[in-house]
Symmetry: C2
Subunit: 208 residues, 2 copies
């Protein structure tokens, strides 16, 4: 099978990419994480992937295209990983904590994707893919709000604003990569566990 | 008085810059906010400030230097503004809310400085100034932790981790500029008011 045919079969956004394309994406992810996006060239990616620059450009229009594709895969994997991590038979508090731990774990294991996902200035040259990526982001946020709404409906949670509460939870998770030092701090999972304690229990002592 | 002499007198980091230098800094702030840092050139700043490029380079080594100086001023102004906004005779909860509201208000009124302050990759070519800027950042964070510690000591707050709670509060404030749309959302002050309610009161209904 020629590259062209393989590419036609597997280039669907949600389809499984060919082994070679996936290998290039994984190589690119590692290089972006190690050297940074700006310092990584298409030549670096070609060399590290063991393909010619011509073949690399056959598969990807640009470095931005590779980054967009990595980020697109990451959003799908994030949603799937977090969804699978939330226990079905559990309190809303347990579900909220599981959501936070899973998101933090995913982001710490995929640091490059984490930075990409939290970069508001990031934009995909492929507008359709960009829209689908934003739809996945909304789906991720909805998963969180639904847990909060469930807790409110059952009387387990106070009547907090689900959107605002979700924003605050995601702020804690998203902002972490700006200050977290993997060498000397708690793990991201331990940090969000702390955040969950604070958010669920509240800072003020309740007197009633 | 020649420019050179005026500059020597007022170039101390904490000193009051000359009117001309301050005008250039304010002009630069506006241009960075309007056009973005990358799209703004030294020529743009010179033209908008009504000075020659030669004179601009007499006062500032580079565009990065201007940005660093703006950001340096902003950290001082932020600390002073927030400190003055916290009521002395108040509960820790009221102080915490005042801290959050003042920080959010400052950031929304100085959006360019807000983005600069929250850019972890930002670095100042002047290492001494960079260190003093980081010291101010620590001072800002300490102001917040001290409020939390005060609330714990008086029994008003639960024995939360002051550092973690401070991180969560600042995450909510710092992350806002990545999603907040001044056109259609609540104001930053209203948003952090919501965050304060959630944090202080807690998500879970207390049963004891």
């Amino acid at each position: 099978m020629t590259d062209q045919i393989a590419d036609d079969i597997t280039s669907d956004e949600d389809g499984v990419p060919s082994e070679r394309v996936q290998f290039i994406l994984d190589t690119g992810t590692n290089l972006f994480a190690e050297k940074g996006y700006d310092a990584t060239s298409m030549r670096d990616i070609a060399t590290a992937s063991g393909v010619s620059k011509a073949l690399l450009y056959h598969h990807f229009a640009s470095k931005e295209d590779i980054y967009a594709r990595i980020s697109f895969q990451a959003t799908r994997n994030l949603n799937a990983f977090v969804r699978e991590s939330i226990p079905q038979d559990a309190t809303a508090a347990e579900k909220l904590r599981a959501f936070m731990r899973a998101a933090a774990r995913f982001f710490s294991e995929h640091r490059s994707a984490w930075v990409a996902a939290s970069n508001a200035f990031w934009s995909d040259p492929d507008r359709h893919r960009m829209e689908r990526r934003l739809a996945r982001r909304r789906e991720f946020e909805k998963m969180l709000r639904d847990i909060i709404k469930e807790g409110i409906a059952s009387g387990e949670f106070n009547p907090v604003d689900p959107a605002m509460t979700g924003r605050l939870v995601l702020s804690g998770i998203n902002w972490m990569h700006r200050w977290h030092d993997p060498e000397k701090s708690l793990t991201p999972e331990e940090i969000v566990d702390n955040y969950a304690d604070i958010l669920l229990g509240g800072v003020c002592v309740k007197r009633d």
